[in-house]
């Protein structure tokens, strides 16, 4: 066990389970992202990088028009810049971003704190079930 792991074991034993509202890391559900750019524009730290391209789908009916689709190429959050404000999650109109309680994602270089879409998807596993809606 490294000293870090020892420390974390002590911390975990002391704190018990994390509350569902914990701000550990941000997870991305890519299927919900429409590349609207709102999160990247609202982010006060400029830590979200999004690249995308346009694809044209053929018309679905005979008299229909072709549809233009935005396809995500890159979605990355730089956790070296992020200040855990959660504005990106609040502002996302399509529920593509979530808080996950996992907080052990420190890295030894700043470059490794940039989480690309594969890593952001990985965090989805820890996203808690949302509380039931008010009636």
């Amino acid at each position: 066990m490294t000293p870090y792991e020892q420390g974390m074991a002590v911390l975990r034993a002391a704190q018990g389970p994390l509350p569902a509202r914990s701000r550990g890391v941000i997870a991305l559900l890519e299927e919900n992202c429409t590349v609207c750019m709102l999160c990247a524009r609202e982010c006060p730290d400029w830590c979200i990088e999004i690249d995308s391209h346009k694809e044209t789908l053929p018309p679905r009916t005979e008299r229909g028009r072709p549809r233009v689709l935005h396809v995500l190429d890159r979605f990355a959050i730089d956790f070296a810049l992020c200040m855990w404000c959660g504005i990106c999650i609040e502002v996302c109109p399509f529920d593509a971003l979530f808080w996950a309680p996992e907080f052990e994602h420190s890295a030894t270089t700043a470059k490794d704190l940039v989480h690309e879409r594969q890593e952001l998807r990985k965090w989805l596993a820890g996203v808690p079930v949302p509380p039931p809606l008010e009636r």
Partner: protein
């Protein structure tokens, strides 16, 4: 809101009333209304706190120092002095945090962050665009918040 002429007296009265723990002193740039200086004191035994504020006009940013009451206010006043350009009368406000030759007061609302101008804004891209599309596009780009007209970009 306490008049700045009464600032030291009122804070002394608060301390004598039990708020003996100096927690925090900072400032707020309220634009044309000038600067507010905010002080948080705490009553350790009674477990209650109080926020005291005073203000000064933008053209005359001077507030009397509290270091005569709380020695610990020194660093807070020095930080507020360099970040907001407020003079704390009666206190030595040498720079505490910023580099020696730094110009300006970075927490004033009219201070433009140079990195916001030098760095490319990720939000400048429209949906369906990547970095490669940016220079070629002739359309007017949305400006990042906080960067005035005519700066960079």
């Amino acid at each position: 809101m306490i008049e700045r002429d009464r600032w030291v007296d009122e804070v002394r009265a608060a301390r004598e009333g039990g708020l003996t723990f100096f927690d925090l002193l900072t400032a707020v740039d309220t634009g044309e209304a000038g600067f507010e200086v905010v002080l948080h004191l705490w009553d350790v035994g009674g477990k209650r706190g109080a926020l005291l504020t005073t203000s000064c006009p933008r053209e005359d940013p001077v507030i009397p120092t509290l270091t005569g009451l709380f020695a610990g206010a020194g660093w807070h006043e020095r930080a507020a002095a360099e970040l907001f350009g407020i003079t704390f009368a009666g206190h030595d406000t040498r720079p505490l945090l910023l580099a020696e030759r730094f110009e300006g007061h970075p927490l004033r609302k009219d201070f433009v962050l140079a990195s916001r101008v030098a760095k490319r804004w990720p939000g400048a891209k429209e949906p369906g665009e990547s970095d490669a599309d940016l220079p070629a596009s002739p359309r007017r780009r949305p400006r990042p918040p906080g960067v005035p007209e005519g700066w960079g970009q």
